[in-house]
């Protein structure tokens, strides 16, 4: 009884002490907030709201410099693309027999990065892992944006982008349909289904938070209008929450089923061909595991960046990074196993054409292979240490290394196989041209830019989910005793 009284008092007291939006500017920018590992039950809800929405409403000068820099990289890449469309694919360094190069490697990389966002988010939702809450939004947004980036690459890659509509099943007089036997047609459908589903998943999760932002947004703020429209009249009624819960559970299952199929189909772009080195049954699971490995790495990198840029270390705490790092360790071990299996089967079978590709890789790209293989081994060793798993700086470096390795991996899947085909007369070498490299760099900038803009126009923190977590981990009254529930509370590190 006393305890509830206490709580009420505290709530009343803190309501008076809620900092205004202006005061929060300082708090959000300040990184020296004491990192707490325990659930901060004393954090009043209104304060939490303001704190979570602060990335949206307060913009530093550095943010503008950062976005302008990113936009100029994107603009340069767009100019390069325009140059390529105007002149033809000859501005790339592609040449027979290497018809797919850096663009396809970049495409596969970004599809891979997109994977973990929804998988992590939906898996954690379905398993009711309580620590998931602050991670969800960032991860889901990562999926949506990296898919948008990946979706650009088939357009950039084709010779006649102005004819791209031939791919779509548009009704026409001659009954000319896309060829559904082609893995590329499957690919287009898989990517568009995945993009649609993950956008809906992201948006559904956003609804209560958009409504909250709408309510807290000052009347004269330019965000008010679109927040009102996007919140679809969310009032937080009982029925709305009921529908919301049902929808997000359904979508979590749905997206979880789509995700592995998408990357399997991307791998089939290679595996369904008769090209030695690509034509292998291992590619489906190999790509899916690689995608999750690179995606979880991406989630960790972004979480560290969000903590650092927006000062969200009260929300995305060490514990969340720690748990994600554990997941990444498992994926790294699995991935190393796949490297081993892929190599040992080629070595044992010793198919001359396939083996020639391995030898060529070792001779031509020893430094890349060293980064790729060494990076994975290093990640496994480093992530085994508690100290590394709890250090944002370490995690940032390791996950960047992991994703550099994963990019190299995709590059080495595409390039050596094509330069060394069955017909030895056609063997050649390939180095990406300046245009190709610019566009690949532009893709990174485009992704970061989308993410940065997203953080300014929509809530990047899952406020509703975090508050839900707080409610179920509060004080519970049983009979005439009030107990603090620890069962559902995040474990302190």
């Amino acid at each position: 009884m006393e305890n509830t009284q206490d709580n009420k008092e505290r709530r009343n007291r803190s309501r008076a002490e809620i900092p205004s939006l202006e005061e929060l500017r300082g708090i959000a920018a300040r990184k020296s907030l004491e990192p707490s590992n325990d659930v901060d039950l004393s954090m009043p809800e209104a304060w939490l709201n303001q704190y979570s929405l602060s990335p949206m409403f307060f913009t530093t000068k550095a943010y503008f410099i950062f976005t302008i820099a990113l936009s100029s990289v994107v603009a340069w890449a767009v100019a390069c693309w325009g140059y390529q469309i105007y002149n033809g694919m000859g501005v790339t360094n592609l040449r027979p027999p290497i018809f797919w190069g850096m663009y396809i490697a970049t495409f596969v990389f970004w599809v891979g990065v997109s994977h973990s966002g929804t998988i992590v988010s939906s898996l954690l939702r379905l398993t009711k892992a309580n620590w998931r809450r602050p991670v969800l939004r960032g991860a889901e947004a990562m999926t949506a944006f990296s898919l948008m980036v990946a979706g650009m690459f088939p357009l950039i890659h084709v010779g006649r982008v102005w004819r791209i509509y031939y791919m779509f099943p548009l009704p026409n007089q001659r009954f000319l349909w896309p060829n559904y036997r082609s893995p590329l047609a499957w690919d287009m459908m898989a990517i568009s289904v995945y993009l649609t589903a993950s956008m809906i998943f992201l948006y559904t999760g956003l609804l209560p938070d958009i409504a909250l932002a709408r309510d807290l947004c000052p009347r004269n703020n330019w965000r008010k209008k679109y927040l009102t429209i996007l919140s679809l009249g969310w009032r937080g009624t009982h029925r709305q929450w009921h529908v919301y819960e049902k929808a997000s559970t359904f979508l979590a299952v749905f997206v979880l089923l789509i995700a592995p199929s998408v990357h399997t189909i991307v791998s089939w772009d290679f595996a369904m061909s008769i090209t030695p080195g690509w034509h292998t049954t291992i590619f489906g699971p190999y790509f899916v595991v690689g995608a999750i490995y690179s995606g979880v790495g991406g989630v960790i990198t972004l979480m560290v960046i969000l903590r650092w840029v927006f000062g969200l270390d009260q929300i995305i705490r060490i514990m969340h990074l720690y748990n994600l790092a554990k997941l990444e360790l498992v994926m790294a071990i699995l991935w190393a196993y796949f490297y081993f299996v892929e190599f040992i089967t080629s070595w044992y079978a010793h198919n001359p054409v396939e083996w020639r590709i391995w030898v060529y890789q070792w001779e031509r790209f020893p430094h890349l292979l060293l980064i790729m293989l060494g990076g994975t081994i290093f990640a496994i060793i480093a992530l085994s240490f508690h100290k590394v798993r709890t250090s944002p700086g370490w995690l940032f470096c390791i996950t960047i290394l992991i994703n550099v390795g994963m990019y190299i991996e995709r590059y080495l899947i595409v390039v050596p196989v094509l330069t060394h085909r069955d017909n030895a007369y056609t063997w050649t070498d390939y180095v990406p041209s300046f245009v190709e490299a610019s566009i690949a760099a532009g893709a990174i900038a485009y992704f970061l830019l989308l993410y940065a803009i997203f953080a300014k126009i929509l809530p990047i923190v899952t406020v509703a989910d975090i508050r839900e977590g707080k409610i179920i981990s509060g004080d519970v009254r049983i009979g005439n005793r009030v107990l603090r529930v620890h069962a559902d509370v995040e474990e302190p590190l």
């Binding site: 033809g88 031939y166 000319l176």
Partner: protein, 236 residues
């Protein structure tokens, strides 16, 4: 003689190349270039291996210097019966036509280049840039063959325009195509008569006869693609 109606019956065009007769002069490449309006791309592009020739003569060296022997292998599109390039095209730009050939619809192609990746012979060519013919060279273009735009794939068609003309003529005269009536540009220009072209399913054709030779082989048969180009090598 059994009447063979080439306009209605399914048939398979084939090419027999006798490697022992080939001296690597490259006349076939040039004839193909002229017949099919193939772009001449220049020295720089050729160094980058971006030549557009539909038929190339591959050179291989046997033995060590000074006992060195050069072997030539003319490589046109193999017109596979089970072509790997066809199923992977997402827009049906390359397909199997009733003549048993892998036809290319240039206007349908959007240049994803999967077909070229899936071709183990490496005979598919891509238009990296728009091709130009400086005046008066555009006057010598073959009116029967379309010019390909930037960004589309192209490859040897077995001189489809010649096949078409031969079949039309035979149809007008109410008969089937006679053996030797349709000749591809490469076969026509080969000075040593190493290349023979014709119907494989006409049992009395020269191609059918040569294809029964003990010296026959086809390239990369382990893929099981059933190519229509038959090579003869070894022995008399």
């Amino acid at each position: 003689m059994k009447s063979f109606n080439s306009n209605t019956e399914y048939h398979k065009w084939a090419m027999v190349i006798d490697l022992d007769k080939c001296n690597g002069c490259g006349a076939c490449t040039i004839a193909c270039q002229a017949e099919n309006n193939i772009a001449v791309v220049g020295e720089k592009m050729a160094r980058e291996k971006r030549t557009m020739s539909w038929l190339r003569v591959e050179r291989y060296f046997e033995g060590e210097w000074p006992e060195l022997r050069v072997v030539f292998l003319p490589m046109p599109c193999q017109q596979c019966g089970k072509a790997p390039c066809e199923p992977v095209c997402p827009v049906f730009a390359t397909y199997h036509n009733p003549d048993g050939l892998n036809a290319m619809v240039y206007n349908r192609c959007m240049g994803v280049r999967f077909c070229a990746n899936n071709c183990p012979y490496g005979v598919r060519k891509f238009n990296w840039f728009n091709s130009k013919w400086e005046a008066p060279l555009e006057q010598q273009l073959n009116p029967d063959v379309s010019i390909r735009e930037v960004g589309v794939m192209e490859k040897c068609t077995f001189c489809m325009q010649r096949i078409r003309r031969g079949k039309d003529k035979a149809k007008d005269e109410g008969r089937g195509v006679k053996d030797g009536e349709v000749v591809s540009a490469c076969a026509q220009s080969c000075p040593t008569k190493a290349i023979t072209f014709g119907y494989l399913d006409d049992p009395e054709s020269k191609v059918a006869e040569l294809s029964k030779s003990k010296r026959r082989h086809r390239l990369l048969e382990e893929h099981g693609l059933d190519p229509s180009v038959i090579y003869l090598k070894g022995g008399a």
